[in-house]
Subunit: 454 residues, 4 copies
Amino acid sequence: MTTSLLQDLLSALTLRDLRMRRSREAAGQPATPDRLQAECERLLASDGEASSISLSRSVFDLYARLDDGGRLEFFRCLKDRFGPDRAAIEQAYANYRNHGDEAALQQLFDACEPPRQELLRRLNLAPGGTRELVRMREDLLRHLDTESELRTVDRDFRHLFGSWFNRGFLVLRRIDWNTSASVLEKLIQYEAVHAIRDWDDLRRRLDPRDRRCFAFFHPALGDEPLIFVEVALTAGIPDGIQQIIHADGRSAGPEAATTAAFFGISNCQYGLRGISFGSFLLKQVVQELKHELPNLQTFVTLSPVPGFRDWLQRLREGEVSEPQVSEDRLASLELLDVPGWRHSEEGLADLRDSVLPLAAWYLAEAKNSRGLPLNPVARFHLGNGARLERINWLGDVSEKGLRNGVGLMVNYVYDLSEIEHNHERLANEGIVATSASVRRLLRQAGEQKQGVRS
Amino acid sequence: MTTSLLQDLLSALTLRDLRMRRSREAAGQPATPDRLQAECERLLASDGEASSISLSRSVFDLYARLDDGGRLEFFRCLKDRFGPDRAAIEQAYANYRNHGDEAALQQLFDACEPPRQELLRRLNLAPGGTRELVRMREDLLRHLDTESELRTVDRDFRHLFGSWFNRGFLVLRRIDWNTSASVLEKLIQYEAVHAIRDWDDLRRRLDPRDRRCFAFFHPALGDEPLIFVEVALTAGIPDGIQQIIHADGRSAGPEAATTAAFFGISNCQYGLRGISFGSFLLKQVVQELKHELPNLQTFVTLSPVPGFRDWLQRLREGEVSEPQVSEDRLASLELLDVPGWRHSEEGLADLRDSVLPLAAWYLAEAKNSRGLPLNPVARFHLGNGARLERINWLGDVSEKGLRNGVGLMVNYVYDLSEIEHNHERLANEGIVATSASVRRLLRQAGEQKQGVRS
Amino acid sequence: MTTSLLQDLLSALTLRDLRMRRSREAAGQPATPDRLQAECERLLASDGEASSISLSRSVFDLYARLDDGGRLEFFRCLKDRFGPDRAAIEQAYANYRNHGDEAALQQLFDACEPPRQELLRRLNLAPGGTRELVRMREDLLRHLDTESELRTVDRDFRHLFGSWFNRGFLVLRRIDWNTSASVLEKLIQYEAVHAIRDWDDLRRRLDPRDRRCFAFFHPALGDEPLIFVEVALTAGIPDGIQQIIHADGRSAGPEAATTAAFFGISNCQYGLRGISFGSFLLKQVVQELKHELPNLQTFVTLSPVPGFRDWLQRLREGEVSEPQVSEDRLASLELLDVPGWRHSEEGLADLRDSVLPLAAWYLAEAKNSRGLPLNPVARFHLGNGARLERINWLGDVSEKGLRNGVGLMVNYVYDLSEIEHNHERLANEGIVATSASVRRLLRQAGEQKQGVRS
Amino acid sequence: MTTSLLQDLLSALTLRDLRMRRSREAAGQPATPDRLQAECERLLASDGEASSISLSRSVFDLYARLDDGGRLEFFRCLKDRFGPDRAAIEQAYANYRNHGDEAALQQLFDACEPPRQELLRRLNLAPGGTRELVRMREDLLRHLDTESELRTVDRDFRHLFGSWFNRGFLVLRRIDWNTSASVLEKLIQYEAVHAIRDWDDLRRRLDPRDRRCFAFFHPALGDEPLIFVEVALTAGIPDGIQQIIHADGRSAGPEAATTAAFFGISNCQYGLRGISFGSFLLKQVVQELKHELPNLQTFVTLSPVPGFRDWLQRLREGEVSEPQVSEDRLASLELLDVPGWRHSEEGLADLRDSVLPLAAWYLAEAKNSRGLPLNPVARFHLGNGARLERINWLGDVSEKGLRNGVGLMVNYVYDLSEIEHNHERLANEGIVATSASVRRLLRQAGEQKQGVRS
């Protein structure tokens, strides 16, 4: 017997139940938020595992039959009806003030815990429950922008998902052309950075001897990857993405490689947003590759710079206060407004000399309100303890690359011996680890400012 | 790359670190509860995953080097130093009273949560962390009897384990003679009901074509089973255990079987006490067997009655108020005091006629303070929705069986069509589902009482 | 360690050797049939395994570098230079006549065995040798039509392949959407009956719950399938292929199916032509499906009738002597010459009434020189012991189906209880097993003949 | 569906058939060599796969029911009735003389091939046939000593087994404590060199981090290993077996090891005697270990010297002509006749100085009639291209080691760079590859001789 056989069985049973129930429902009982709420209350009131599971299935079934408005109503109900009971808090607090012992403290804690947490825990017991809760949170996340008061509900989802998707429960698997089609089609679907067009394109990415791909899986999600990373094994630090994703298949072979370049990291589950796997994934993959290929010395990313073009625009329009930029430099940036600028013969070198120091400044110095790098990709890698190594001019000449990041691609180096130190310096002092060449660019950005001042 | 390779790698790294650290320690810094507490505080204060993992390793390392007294001190410290901050609760409550919004509510909840919960969550992130926390709780459980104030700490362990060992994360695997020796040796070690003497004994249990064994595994514990169940496929409901565990290998074959008899269910992880898997295991195994062998019609246990002899003794001594028993019946029970009574020619039939109704009463009517069956095995199976089917005289003539349960073995039937109903009736009305034959015994027990009254 | 790891290793080693050797060769030693012959002779003369393997690699390397003409020359050399030594036969025969003992007999046998058999056996010892010999035979087969004297060489290949691809060494695997992409792409490539256009088409064939696909694999060929069969689970015997390969995904589900319809059987290895796997495959798949779905009662093919249109043409032109056909019937066949005849409103019913009896005659009565059915598909299934069940009018309206088989599709039923009997009757008496409806068609074909006579 | 499921199925079917047939047989038809012969003749005469398989099952069934005498009679029948038809040979030869073409040659070859070869090939088609034929040859081998005329039958078995157990079809698997109990129990059963007492002993051999074990498997034999090798990873070339098989579990770990020592190689299938796997196994294991542990530099055996004590005895008794030994040396050997000699304080050093040169001579110079080393273990390793590296005094002080090999253990080194060369020199010139220290011992042995001469 295999797990998948069993899961087939269970879902077959579940499906049959569902179908029976549906035909019953079809006879006159439509799914409504009220009925869903009532079923949730029954679930919370039940004490046994046996009924718990069938009630959970019923909750998921009703939820599945609601339309978008009905689901929004359900989320509001989770906030209001399945939030803490304020009277109970009062009472527990009074008791705690009177007695002050551990039991009273525990009661107060229990009174403060939103009952929806227990509700979600019970729903998670149903076969396939984790998967359905992840799908449910996808719906919830889509409403957060307009319904900010639902953030408190999302906080409970995220808290529980953080516990259930603990990295100790994640399984790293190598993905290659021998992987099942059902997993591979998800890669095509989820690749976020550099789109995979079709199966032939996928094969070109995965199959060459100098490519690797790894993904994290979780037992409760079966063959659904959580996150995956694509790696090219190269003879040096690569400076452009097109050479990698349109490779012609010729390569010196993995034995000759000294460098592993991570060129695509994609989260696969929107419903797990905010649950962080990437850092663990990269570190495990580094270990894995070191073991397979002891010759590898450098572990580096080839990363885009989303948002840089927007930031640059705001800088040109004076909406960004730092760094100060000389008029000459500002003038040279005007070439960016010319369609097809990258093929321009005139002014391109000036543009490059202006852009690169500003990009270094954007990546290393521009910070968000928490003092961390403004650029989300930089924030991720530098936060993991990587080093800002090199900024590559015309490293991504795809339309998307030019539009978002002025065609730049960045290398962040993962050096296991300095990761912890880099991370701590960024966290505690706000200082980004940089290479000598990036520091040179940063000095140039500073000098521009001084030029202005004088 | 396989998970186990990776785990080897990680533990090799960890071991190396450990060794380095140890040699450092050996140079003069002994492990003390104070230093362990300091490291835990650093872990709670850290914000990044990178340092989090090495700090966790350090915590586990220090803990491993403490002796029993040191560990007890650490548990007390978990209670006192890593419990909620009462001043913070005051402040959060005041703020909540003033504002009363969701944010204030959340802050109050956060203030009430013992920081040790977050500590345990962070420790769980280290490679192998789950396993080490399970071992840590083993130590904690051993202290609970004498240090009852540590129960509040255990409550947090149990709460988190309940979340991490969610049944959706458990993997059912069939265990047989093709299973790895590293798993099989754990069966020998953990079998709790009917001891497995050695590998030959194990083979006799597992290998015949009419035997099955299943276990639950969890990805974070690798090859460590959580719980396992042994099954015999038989032509009818079996009435004794010796025929099963000393079978001579002749069998009608699984094709001819109509009954699956669960004759041993053993929890393997003391550190997971109170986290319930058995009910899910049995139900999944029933599904599994139905699929493999569509001829199976009856799913039944062959279970011991631990504690019955003690209860009977207390009944004879008048310490148990119900049921009332006639003098004749009481007299017939005196044979139990005669060593080797089961070979006695005289009085054995009377003894049987007295014991069986009392056993039915003990299993179906004797309740604990929560209104559930007093006998723990009955409580488990009846709570799962099983039916009390048959009580077998001299069903276990081993020394242990005679000593604990007067040699009785009980069949509980799992009938999927009535499980939910049985469970609900027991939970809501305290009524145990019984077969006609057990009801007949219960009437006899009642008549005895009437006999006394008249 | 896994096999694939090992095979990677070995092929890496081999590749490196190859590369070294090639650079050496490139320095001045071209591959020629003479040098290949010399290397083969060294291999036959060597006595040790160590040198045997490197010599085998060298033989395969030289062969790979020959062009088509060079390879043909090598095959001729296999016939002439690695055939039996006639002088040695003379001598062995003389010795046998003198002594007549077992040893002399053995020597005579050895003298008669072509040395190329031993050569092939030794080549087979090299890592990947089996695979390379299968490729080598592909080249050989392409020459057989024009170089009939090479058939004696092919006989030795076939003899050895028959031994190496013994069905006891074949492994049956289910193929579905969870199978690796590297295997699935071979299905796209090898599907011979109803072409699979692309990955989406493949998914439509494999993924629905009422589809099954199985293939035979051999350990020496790794992930290369030898033969595969596609199955649709249906509620009755299907009468057309388009409904199956263009299914819309709606289905009653496998639980409701009573029939397993084999609608595509494709050999994957041209180099294994004449080594029969299909019969074993179908019988194993029947067992497999019966086990998975006990409700299945009928196992049937949905098969094309290649060659029927040609045979019909020859019948119309008087080149086929039997059956005799009335002028009316012959006239009705003229509609076939009209493009788009199947959409014709007039004459289509007459055409149908003429074609079906003739098709029954063609399948059941038209025999080849060995007394077996002339039609190759009929020969295969009827030779396996299947029964000619039904001939379906317009069962395949694809261009190919209309061109080759006048649009007919045929059901052959595999009934395990009569397979052996059917096979024996065909083999010994030349009698094809038919259903009542087919016998009716055969009578109609006979009556036409009588009509002519009268 | 898995292979094993299928095999279960097939064997279940087979078993049922068998049982049906048996009950039929039991009704009055005993198994006799005559009936077995008749069934074999039917099998040879049948032309179809369907009947072929059921006839094969019938042959195996009848064979299984014969007693030892019946089986011997069957083997004689294989020789006489299923040997070549002498009249047919005459006729084929006459035809060949007349025509002399390829077809006639082929006919002659076919006439010379013993029909039992085809019989064995057909038997091999039955499910489980290969396994049953291996068992059948076990019986045959037991008769060869007394029935030498059956060697011609065995030759056909060996010829076909050589083809079926081609190394390309063998699968190398690592064996460790995670291997299934059903495989591990076979190691206990088959270990030929240093007996494994029980499961605890097995665990001590396999489980330490510095141990490895590998075995070859064949798909037709399932979980039955063909041959296995035990390896210890050590810091230098080990000089004694007791330290290895009674290791206390402390070890520097595989990372620190420079040497892989093969200390036990055991063939598992008596019925495959003479089919050589050992050489391939060792070479594959060397590759495997090199890949896993790049630090390994030396691959060496720790091998016994069976037969040395006997040879020494014959030398002392003058039955062995070379080398000549001085009287002094001969006298020193007398200590060997004293029970417990290895604990003797006096004469032990002299004994050592006499024995070691003679052992070197025995291993490197004593040859059999084919010019290969007389000692079978030396013949195997030196024939594989290994080098005679070191002879270890008191390397095996077990009773068996002292009795067979005067307590010596020998290291043969496998150096991939010289394997082919060593093999060729031994095969062509009879020269054994030796280390400097062994050459020194050989010179001492020679000097003794000269000493005698002078």
